[in-house]
C-alpha cells in the first residue's frame, strides 16, 4: 500500500508491504526489509540483524509520536487533520513553548508592538517567561487571561498579517 507521512516535518511517500511479521518499506528506489512486532504501544523492528524499539504514543495535541532512544519524532499521517499548528505563519503568532499559567498580559487588540517587546508573561514551575513579539506589527487578537492555564503551543497573541 502507498502511504504519505510527514516525519518531523519532512514529507515521505512510501510503499508498505506486510506479510505476517515481515515488512518492506520503500521510498523512491530504496527499500528496507525486516521483521516487526507490535504490542499496542511499542513497535519492535529487526533490520539486518539489528533490533530497535520505538515507543508509539499519542501526544497531548493528538499527534502521533514515535520515541526512539528517548528522542521524540512526530509523525503526521496524510489524510488526518493536521496537528495544532494552523495556517498562520510563526511570525504572525506568539505561542507559549511550555504548559504554563498566564501571569500578565501587556497588550490588547489594536496595539502597535515592536519586535522583542514583552507581550505576555507566563509562569511554569514558579519560573516566569516573557513572550516577546516576533516582529513589529499590530495586535490582531489576544487569547490570554491572567491566572488561566494554557497548553504548550497555545497561541496567546496573533499579529495582523504583514501587508
Amino acid at each position: 500500500m502507498k502511504k504519505t507521512i510527514r516525519l518531523d516535518g519532512n514529507r515521505h511517500e512510501v510503499t508498505l508491504a506486510l506479510h505476517g511479521t515481515t515488512f518492506r518499506v520503500g521510498e523512491d528506489d530504496r527499500h528496507i526489509e525486516g521483521t516487526r512486532r507490535w504490542d499496542g504501544s511499542r513497535l519492535g523492528l529487526e533490520i539486518a540483524g539489528m533490533r530497535t524499539q520505538a515507543h508509539v504514543v499519542r501526544g497531548a495535541g493528538g499527534q502521533l509520536e514515535i520515541w526512539i532512544d528517548s528522542d521524540r519524532h512526530v509523525v503526521e499521517e496524510e489524510g488526518r487533520a493536521s496537528g495544532p499548528s494552523g495556517s498562520a505563519r510563526d511570525s504572525d503568532t506568539l505561542a507559549t513553548p511550555m504548559p504554563a499559567k498566564v501571569v500578565r498580559v501587556n497588550v490588547a487588540k489594536g496595539d502597535a508592538v515592536t519586535e522583542g517587546q514583552t507581550l505576555v508573561v507566563v509562569e511554569s514551575m514558579k519560573m516566569e517567561l516573557g513572550l516577546t513579539a516576533p516582529r513589529d506589527g499590530v495586535v490582531a487578537s489576544v487569547d490570554a487571561v491572567p491566572g488561566v492555564l494554557v497548553a504548550a503551543g497555545a497561541v496567546l497573541v496573533a499579529l495582523e498579517p504583514m501587508s
Binding site: V25, L43, G44, L45, V57, W67, I68, A100
Partner: protein
C-alpha cells in the same frame, strides 16, 4: 536536645527525596509516614512509606505547604519527628517552630537558625562576622529605585538580583544594564513572593568566570561542627544545577582545608544544629566568596554519600537523637569520585523549558557503582505543580575519569519516552572535553556547551535514516489499524515490561552505538 528514641518519622515532602528518606528510615527500622495530596495518591513516595496521610485542598502544591495540616498529620500518625526534605517547608522557620511547639522533633536546624540563615541578608552578615569573604553587594531598600540605581552603577554589571528568602536557584536573575533594573527588581520580587512568600530582594555583583563549590557540614547545636568534604556544582543552567560531583574537579587539599574551615566557622558561630551546606564561589585565582547557607539536605547529597560512605539522613536522625558523632566522621580524603546527573523533563533544544505529560516508558540504569534516586515511574505524569525532576543518576569511580565513564554508560542505559527530557544533553555534557578536563565555570553550559549542542543537533531533512522512516510508516499503519478497530494508541504504556524486544540498551536506529 531531645534524646528520646525516634521510632516514627513523617516525611513532609514528595518525589525522589521522600523516597530516599524513606529508604534510610526503613533500613533503620523506623516507621515512615508519607503525606500526599489526592493527585499523588499512588505516587512512588506514598508506596515507599509504611503509612500515608492525605493532605486536602484544591491546589496540590499549597497542600504540601500547609503547615497546620502537616503538623496535624504528624500528630495523628504518632510521629516523633518530621523530616522536611528540601524545598517546600524545609527552611521555613515558622514551620520548624510549629513542629517543635507540637512536641515533635524537627529534623533540621532550630527555627531561629533558619530565620538567620534563610534570610540571605542576615546570612551574609553572619558570614562577615565569622570572618568569611562575601561577594560585593547592596542590601538596601529595593523600593527606593534611586538608591538601587546608584548602587547598581557602583557595583557594575552584570548584576544579580536575588530574593532575600530565595534558594535552590530560584528567585534570581541577571541584569546587564541600568535599563533592566526596574523590571529585574520587580520581576524577581514577584517570583520571590510567589515562591517564598517574601518579596524582598537584594543585589550582588555577578562574579565570573567562577566555580560553585559547596561544603557539606553538620553541627551539634552547641557550637561543634564537622564537614563532609566539598561538592562542585559549577555545571548549571538558569542557576539550576545539572551535574554535580564530589570532590571538586580542581579542589586541592589546601583549598579544601580553607573551604571546610570557613564552613565550620560559620556553622560553629551560629551553633548550627543538623546538616547544612555552605555555598561558595571560587574564582580562577582560588579566592572564594561565601554565597549562602542551605539549611537542609540537598538534592546533590548522594555524591557526598558515595565519597564519604556516610548516610546523611542517618546522620540527621543521630544528631536529633543526641547520638555522639564518631571520632573519624571527617574524612581525611575523599574515597574516589562521584558524579550526579539530574534527569529533568525539560527541553534542552528550547532553553531547557519545563515539559509535562505522562511518562510512557522509563528505563533507569543499574549495576555496580550506579545509584538512582527516582521520584516517578512509568505511567506517572510530570505535571505543572511540582519540580519536573525524573531522577538523579549518580556514578562512582576510583577517580574522576572513571566516575564520568561510569556515568556515560549509565546514561546510555537510560531511556524515557512520552515526555521530552534533558537526557541527550546530559549524555553530551558527560562527554564534553572541557568538562572532562575539569575546566568548569557556572556559565559554560549557557555560553558554550548548550549552543554547540543545539547547533550539532539541527535535523537535516535528507539525513533521516531509512530505518527511522520505516519505523514511522509502520507506526502510522499500526495506529491507523488500531483506530479502525476501535482501539487507541495509549498516551502511556505504563509498564516496566521491556516490550517487544528486551534488552536493547545501546542500540540506536540509524546505526551505531552511542558512548
Amino acid at each position: 536536645m531531645p534524646s528520646r528514641p525516634i521510632t516514627t518519622v513523617l516525611i513532609a515532602n514528595r518525589g525522589e527525596i521522600a523516597v530516599r528518606i524513606a529508604r534510610t528510615l526503613r533500613a533503620r527500622g523506623v516507621r515512615s509516614v508519607a503525606v500526599h495530596h489526592a493527585v499523588d495518591r499512588d505516587a512512588l513516595h506514598v508506596q515507599a512509606c509504611d503509612v500515608a496521610v492525605e493532605l486536602t485542598g484544591d491546589d496540590p502544591r499549597a497542600a504540601y505547604l500547609d503547615m497546620a495540616q502537616v503538623v496535624a498529620a504528624a500528630t495523628r500518625a504518632n510521629a516523633d519527628a518530621i523530616h522536611p526534605g528540601y524545598g517546600f517547608l524545609s527552611e521555613q522557620s515558622r514551620f520548624a517552630a510549629a513542629v517543635e511547639a507540637a512536641g515533635i522533633v524537627f529534623l533540621g536546624p532550630r527555627p531561629e537558625t533558619l530565620e538567620a540563615v534563610g534570610d540571605k541578608k542576615s546570612a551574609r552578615e553572619a558570614a562577615r562576622n565569622a570572618g568569611l569573604p562575601v561577594a560585593p553587594g547592596w542590601e538596601g531598600d529595593a523600593l527606593d529605585r534611586a538608591a538601587a540605581s546608584a548602587a547598581a552603577t557602583t557595583l557594575g554589571f552584570p548584576l544579580l538580583i536575588k530574593a532575600v528568602s530565595g534558594g535552590g536557584g530560584k528567585g534570581m536573575r541577571t541584569i546587564h544594564s541600568l535599563a533592566e533594573l526596574d523590571e529585574g527588581l520587580a520581576g524577581t520580587a514577584r517570583e520571590a513572593l510567589a515562591s517564598f512568600g517574601n518579596a524582598a530582594v537584594y543585589m550582588e555583583r555577578r562574579l565570573e568566570p567562577v566555580r560553585h563549590v559547596e561544603v557539606q557540614f553538620l553541627g551539634d547545636g552547641k557550637g561543634r561542627a564537622w564537614h563532609l568534604l566539598e561538592r562542585e556544582c559549577s555545571l548549571q543552567r538558569r542557576h539550576q544545577k545539572v551535574l554535580e560531583e564530589a570532590p571538586g574537579a580542581r579542589v586541592d587539599a589546601a583549598l579544601r582545608a580553607r573551604l571546610t574551615s570557613a564552613a565550620k566557622a560559620i556553622a560553629a558561630a551560629v551553633k548550627y544544629r543538623g546538616v547544612g551546606t555552605a555555598e561558595f564561589l571560587v574564582d580562577e585565582a582560588g579566592a572564594f566568596y561565601f554565597l549562602e547557607i542551605n539549611a537542609r539536605i540537598q538534592v546533590e547529597h548522594p555524591v557526598t554519600e558515595l565519597v564519604t560512605g556516610r548516610d546523611i539522613v542517618a546522620i540527621q536522625l543521630d544528631l536529633a537523637a543526641g547520638v555522639p558523632m564518631p571520632d573519624d566522621l571527617e574524612p581525611a580524603a575523599p574515597r574516589g569520585h562521584a558524579v550526579e546527573a539530574r534527569l529533568y523533563a525539560e527541553d534542552p533544544a528550547h532553553d531547557f523549558l519545563p515539559q509535562s505529560g505522562p511518562i510512557a516508558f522509563l528505563r533507569l540504569p543499574s549495576g555496580p557503582d550506579v545509584r538512582v534516586d527516582a521520584g516517578v515511574r512509568a505511567g506517572d505524569a510530570i505535571g505543572l505543580d511540582f519540580d519536573p525532576m525524573i531522577a538523579k543518576i549518580t556514578a562512582w569511580g576510583p577517580d574522576r575519569g572513571a566516575a564520568f565513564a561510569r556515568l556515560r554508560a549509565a546514561l546510555a542505559e537510560t531511556e524515557v519516552a512520552g515526555v521530552v527530557t534533558n537526557l541527550p544533553f546530559l549524555r553530551a555534557l558527560a562527554a564534553d572535553a572541557a568538562v572532562l578536563a575539569g575546566d568548569l565555570s557556572t556559565t559554560m553550559i549557557e555560553r558554550t556547551i548548550a549552543p554547540a549542542w543545539r547547533a550539532a543537533r539541527k535535523p537535516a531533512a535528507a539525513m533521516q535514516p531509512d530505518s527511522l522512516i520505516a519505523a514511522a510508516a509502520l507506526a502510522s499503519f499500526e495506529a491507523a489499524t488500531a483506530l479502525r478497530l476501535g482501539a487507541t494508541v495509549a498516551t502511556s504504556s505504563a509498564t516496566d515490561d521491556p516490550g517487544p524486544w528486551a534488552a536493547l540498551a545501546g542500540f540506536r536506529l540509524g546505526g551505531g552505538e552511542d558512548a
